[in-house]
Symmetry: C2
Subunit: 451 residues, 2 copies
């Protein structure tokens, strides 16, 4: 029987185990942590994730999308909360397109169950990867409870152990000519749980992603099933008027929320007490190359960890699974050929999803509060309606299609520039009625797009 | 007694041990390798280095420059070897300014002797750094012969263990928000020993650095004391007409040298037999930040490993010693203050020496064969003569001064552009007589520079 090893039973590792099991592989997954299904432990630092097209495509490809849909909440747009408490709403797409809030823990547990259910996958917990012979497909393991050392050899090995991948650190990084970078941005984040009302109802509109955009920083909120929201404050660590290092007392936390998020403070006046429920965490973009070496490949965050601002980390990792699966079929499971093509086609997309994520940080924390930007998005959404299949805004290419990330990035930037220029030249900011927008679009693009 | 730990007894570690011993520190140096003074082993990959102003300044500051001068050979300029065997010569500076060829092994052995001679330094060999508690100044060591584990705590710890620094990898890289990148360039190198003539004489002019510039690749040669030259071929690994991966047989090696370095091949017709005497090696630029954490600091290649094309790797590392020494005096040995200022002032210079090194690769392999570039250098050298102390070409700022690398880079690029533009505008390429060059300089700069 064909043997595969996966390091890390996180989201990508568990899903990839499903793929490989279904292709007839005996799969051994080695996970450093204990079984999160048995004890309430955190799988990572962030609690909520947004599933979008690429994620669903991979899950549906394995026939398990519907099981995950049951534990997901659609968010059809963004609700922006201004300083004065006024909200504006902007749909993400057309025809009820949505991104879906899922709990990282719930989906991870579910994927592990599904992987094991097929019978070909065994997940072994408390097994830390301390080294590897990539050429031979051998991983060196240490049991974190007993200290016992072991090694395990198989036909093919996958590193899906996240941003701080042990197999990348202990094996890939030690190989000659391995390009590697870890760049922390100046901002960190802290999660805050906004509880449900006493009657279990939501304190905010449920089916939307809430943003309090404040220029250099922002607060966001994603819905959970129990009526609560998982909120995240993204902000510089230091050297700014508003930064984490300034919030050194309950009083300062209170004053900060009162002054910059007054409507939020009203909903959660005990914010200062809840402030330290979740740790202050850092954010990095990690790039490396090559992604494959001998019998081993990196996938997901281990290959291309990104900052979270486009909600694409999990989606990009799941798309790695789809991509490898296509290549398995194309190359008839010749892993040498598969790996060679995998890293060539996926690396530019890994870089692009990271660039897109940084771009979207500026959008979320700053641009969504800019009337011209909102108008631009309105024009783009209307264009997508008027020319279905012929015009895709950048956000839609990333979230509602499987157009390559690198194409979404390049084409999206071009489109943004063209549309912004036209809006400014045509002065339509004076009359943003649907009729005028339609006239403007027809005048500017009607002929071109139809051709 | 004040206690210091140094990881790595390479060039920077040994020199820094001298500095610290002389300031009254008891210094323990832990070196992973065996004692290179007892067995002929290689301290690293490159055999020759070029000492220039910054290196001498640090050595002289400790009163040991003259001991090293005895084992160094001045090179007053570059000798370019064209395809047809014709040579052109270009002095590096004015008034017999020179860079100095030294054997890495010889200078390293000498520095270790000097460090131990003071009595305060002990170098312990076969001791590998496997971890560290940076906050407490504790390093974890493993004896590579006995396997024995130990730990050692001191007031202050320095990582001078080179591009692949173990303390950086095992401790710094594991800290939160540590920015790190290792970027390999597409070129590698292979050293070749060009032996002396039978009578011990040099086969090439001794007091010059020889270059065979060939656009995308180059061969260089530096003199040794025994009449031989250490030659280095720098070339892409793959994907080029001329690349290492193409040279797969003795015949191919011979044909390559015959066609692109015919004069060299004549001096060394057995090149194909000597081809594998030295390994094919890769070249990387390594950047990281912060350079200090708690009681520990990185220095030299461990902090800012560079490609070798400006001959500044060792010089930059020795300058780290000078810089830290100045700060020790300024801050009265308060290491918290010293470290805080050290990384702020030195990091931009580490980045700059890496950028300068990449720029000089283009100069060496390509530009030195370009008549306009050579004229430009001639003009610059003449300007340095005419306006001593008021005009410094980029090469001189880097090699013959201690002007900060970041200033040399910025100012040098500005100067290059101005002078190149003036040369092209004034068409002096038609008449490059000294008189015309002087006229041109006076017309263009006379007044400005005097002011």
């Amino acid at each position: 029987m064909k043997q595969a090893t996966i390091i890390g039973s996180g989201l990508v590792g568990s899903l990839w185990a499903v793929y490989l099991s279904k292709q007839g592989y005996k799969v051994n997954v080695f996970e450093r942590r204990t079984d999160m299904r048995k004890a309430k432990i955190s799988a990572g630092k962030s609690i909520n994730l947004a599933m979008s097209f690429r994620g669903w495509k991979a899950l549906d490809e394995m026939g398990i999308g519907d099981e995950i849909r049951k534990i997901s909440i659609p968010m059809y747009g963004r609700t922006m909360h201004a300083l004065d408490g006024k909200t504006t709403y902007q749909p993400y797409g057309i025809n009820n397109q949505a991104i879906y809030s899922v709990s990282r823990g719930d989906i991870n547990c579910k994927l592990m169950d599904i992987a094991e259910r097929e019978g070909n996958t065994q997940i072994k917990f408390s097994e830390e990867c301390i080294g590897a012979d990539l050429k031979n497909g051998t991983v060196d393991l240490k049991n974190t409870e007993t200290g016992k050392l072991s090694e395990h050899t198989s036909d093919v090995v996958f590193g899906t152990d996240g941003a701080f991948s042990a197999i990348r650190y202990n094996a890939f990084q030690k190989t000659d000519r391995f390009t590697y970078s870890q760049n922390y941005i100046e901002d960190g984040y802290r999660e805050i749980l906004l509880p449900a009302n006493a009657d279990g109802s939501y304190k905010l509109e449920k089916n939307t992603l809430h943003i309090w955009p404040r220029g250099r920083f922002m607060l966001i909120a994603l819905p959970n099933f129990d009526g609560s929201f998982t909120c995240t404050l993204f902000m510089p660590f230091e050297n700014h008027e508003h930064c984490f290092n300034n919030l050194t007392s309950k009083e300062k936390v209170n004053n900060f929320f009162k002054s910059v998020f007054p409507d939020f403070f009203e909903m959660m006046p005990n914010i200062a007490d809840a402030w330290e429920d979740h740790p202050l965490s850092s954010l990095a973009i990690i790039r490396c190359f090559p992604w494959t070496n001998g019998k081993a490949a990196l996938m997901g965050d281990a290959a291309h960890a990104t900052v979270p601002f486009f909600g694409q980390g999990m989606n990009a990792g799941f798309e790695d699974c789809s991509a490898l699966y296509s290549l398995m079929k194309k190359h008839n499971e010749n892993w040498t050929e598969i790996f060679k093509e995998y890293e060539v086609i996926r690396k530019p997309n890994g870089d692009a999803v990271q660039d897109l994520s940084m771009l979207n940080y500026i959008v979320m924390r700053d641009k969504v509060a800019d009337p011209v930007f909102l108008l631009q998005q309105k024009v783009e959404r209307r264009m997508a309606e008027l020319y279905p299949g012929n015009y895709f805004p950048m956000y839609s290419m990333v979230s509602f299609s499987d157009i390559e990330y690198q194409v979404a990035l390049t084409k999206g930037k071009e489109q943004d520039k063209i549309i912004l220029d036209l809006i400014l030249q045509n002065n339509i900011t004076n009359d943003t009625s649907p009729e005028n927008i339609d006239k403007f679009i027809h005048r500017s693009f009607g002929e071109k797009i139809k051709n």
